[in-house]
């Protein structure tokens, strides 16, 4: 059974069809990419899976149970974590606090128990601090744990966002343009990091990216969206040679 299966997903904003009849089946452990020109509806697909939009039509099933239209926090608790295209960290909180917040949805302490620091909460707080520190080590940010999140350079903010998403204990990670704004060596580090995290945390990854070198190298399978419609899917090699994809990106070839 597929980890995530999406069928006939459609999103309309008034008269505009942002995504039309989108299908997807993610198997456990895969890294699948979603590419397409600007405005193709890639982020809309993410927003529907992550619970920010309620799909106009279609079903989303995660581990067999339907999640379409549920609230974002419930979907995160079910095991789908995401990062954002424009980094959205909690400014004015330290790096480690940003990651600890990811653990908050997993603690069993009640509001009162946490306020009055009952033994259960103390144990869980210790777990949160240690877990957050472990994750920061994993993404190479343990030296800056006490710094303000927004004082970090761009590449590290991206890594922090990934660490925060991992703190929620996801099975599926949605990455929205993780390599955007990175230089080639940072991109290469990110690639290695994603591969390592997939192995260590048993993850399935679904990502949007414009950096074609990165996409072709990391993804096992690709889907291409253009004006909300899936125009191609297959291995990176197949996609590279697909005339429809070339047309969508570069325009129609004029034949003399």
């Amino acid at each position: 059974m597929a980890l995530l299966s999406v069928e006939h997903l459609t999103m309309k904003f008034g008269g505009l069809v942002a995504v039309n009849d989108f299908d997807l089946a993610l198997e456990k452990g895969e890294i699948v990419g979603l590419i397409g020109p600007n405005g193709a509806g890639k982020t809309t697909v993410f927003n529907m899976i992550a619970g920010y939009y309620t799909p106009t039509e279609g079903t989303i099933r995660f581990q067999g149970s339907p999640i379409g239209g549920q609230k974002a926090n419930r979907i995160t608790k079910a095991g789908i974590a995401r990062t954002f295209q424009n980094i959205r960290l909690f400014s004015e909180l330290s790096v480690i606090e940003n990651v600890m917040i990811g653990y908050h949805c997993r603690i069993r302490s009640t509001f009162l128990g946490a306020t009055l620091r009952f033994p259960l909460y103390r144990r869980e707080e210790k777990m949160m601090v240690e877990g957050a520190m472990q994750l920061l080590k994993e993404v190479g940010l343990e030296d800056v744990a006490r710094e303000m999140s927004t004082s970090l350079p761009y590449g590290k903010q991206r890594r922090l966002e990934i660490a925060r998403a991992l703190a929620t204990g996801p099975k599926l990670l949605l990455l929205d343009e993780p390599a955007a704004g990175m230089n080639p060596s940072e991109t290469q580090d990110l690639l290695q990091l994603i591969l390592k995290l997939r192995k260590d945390y048993d993850l399935t990854v679904f990502l949007i990216e414009h950096d074609m070198k990165f996409v072709m190298e990391i993804c096992e399978r690709l889907k291409v969206l253009d004006y909300g419609t899936t125009i191609a899917e297959g291995t990176p090699h197949e996609i590279q040679n697909n005339p429809k994809v070339i047309e969508a990106y570069l325009g129609e070839v004029q034949r003399a």
């Binding site: 619970g51 926090n73 995160t76 954002f84 400014s91 909180l93 990811g102 908050h104 949805c105 929620t168």
Partner: protein, 348 residues
């Protein structure tokens, strides 16, 4: 996590003990006027710190504390007035049963006031947190007015515009400051817990908070209800300090005063709220000399009534120009900082 945890805990206990000694001295040596100001400070600390939880920490700009204070004040006052006093006060319409016959001790009435206000806050939260930002401010402002109008018109419960008179003056330094200490303790513990972190996360980015599994609506409700509980207790203390309450006491101006306190202190800083509550309550009284004639030696300025409000406003304007984030910003008082400044080492 903090190596100086044990030392800081001892310092906090010592600090509280010192505060109690100072209060004891003030209570025995101060005159009625001074003690009254000290009690006022404590009540405003309770109100400001709890208001700050929803406005500053959770970042939900709301304008309802006058409603919560009113509910708390009326609840506790109705509970401590004896049946005979109620019979005398309610001259237009008699007080309805069972309020007419119930009498509870002061502290019980305060706790019930807190619980009743928290329940009202909880119910109010469902419609209110369907909106955000400016809309939230307007909706909560509306609720504040609704409560006041209800108080004005439910003759048989609140005695309408006549208000409640002859409430026992039970609030003394110990009750007021005792509850202030409990409030500050609970709310600062809450803010430091992961629930508090989640509330801050909602303030900085609600969409991102949802993405890490935080139920934003529920956490806003928790903050709002907690805030309502302490506002209610504060309202009860206020009623038993001024001994006469009527709906005019709980207009938007009360909210406005609290808003000034939390903004001047720094939105989101508990320390800031405490400092600003004391400065504004005490400073407002201290500036009274401005209303009187001033003799500068070479020239005598005649007393201008209302001068202190002009100066007070000027101070606020200057504060907002030069310290836009308030006295404390979002920083908190912290023993490590104090010790570093005093040059007392400690492990780092």
């Amino acid at each position: 996590m903090d190596l100086n945890h044990r030392r800081n805990q001892l310092l906090s206990i010592g600090g509280t003990a010192l505060l109690l000694v100072l209060l004891y001295l003030a209570n025995t040596h101060g005159d009625n006027y001074e003690i009254r100001i000290i009690n006022n400070c404590a009540i405003f600390i309770i109100l400001a710190v709890s208001y700050n939880l929803i406005n500053g920490v959770t970042g939900q700009f709301s304008l309802e504390p006058n409603a919560f204070v009113a509910i708390g004040a009326y609840t506790s006052a109705l509970l401590t007035l004896t049946p005979i006093e109620k019979e005398i006060s309610f001259i237009i319409e008699p007080c309805i049963w069972p309020i007419s016959v119930i009498t509870t001790p002061f502290v019980v009435s305060l706790l019930i006031a807190g619980v009743v206000t928290a329940c009202c806050g909880f119910l109010m939260g469902f419609p209110v947190f369907r909106v955000r930002g400016d809309y939230l401010a307007i909706v909560t402002l509306g609720f504040g007015e609704v409560v006041r109008v209800i108080a004005n018109n439910t003759q048989s419960i609140t005695n309408g515009p006549l208000g409640l008179k002859g409430i026992a003056e039970n609030t003394n330094v110990w009750w007021a400051w005792g509850f202030a200490i409990v409030t500050v303790f609970c709310i600062s513990r809450l803010v430091r817990s992961s629930y508090g972190m989640a509330m801050k996360a909602i303030k900085y980015d609600e969409a991102a908070a949802e993405a890490v599994g935080i139920n934003a609506f529920w956490h806003k409700m928790l903050a709002f209800t907690t805030s309502a509980f302490f506002e209610g207790v504060g309202g009860g203390l206020l009623a038993h300090l001024i001994t006469t309450i009527s709906p005019v006491l709980f207009t938007f101006f009360l909210t406005f005063n609290l808003l000034i306190i939390i903004v001047a202190g720094g939105l989101g800083s508990i320390t800031g709220s405490i400092v600003a509550a004391i400065l504004i309550t005490w400073g407002g009284e201290w500036l009274r000399f401005l209303d009187e004639p001033v003799n500068l030696g070479f020239v005598e300025i005649p007393g201008i009534p209302g001068m202190r409000m002009v100066i007070f406003s000027l101070i606020l304007i200057l504060l907002m120009i030069f310290a836009r984030h308030g006295i404390m910003g979002t920083r908190e008082f912290n023993w490590n900082w104090v010790c570093r400044k005093l040059g007392i080492g400690g492990r780092s």
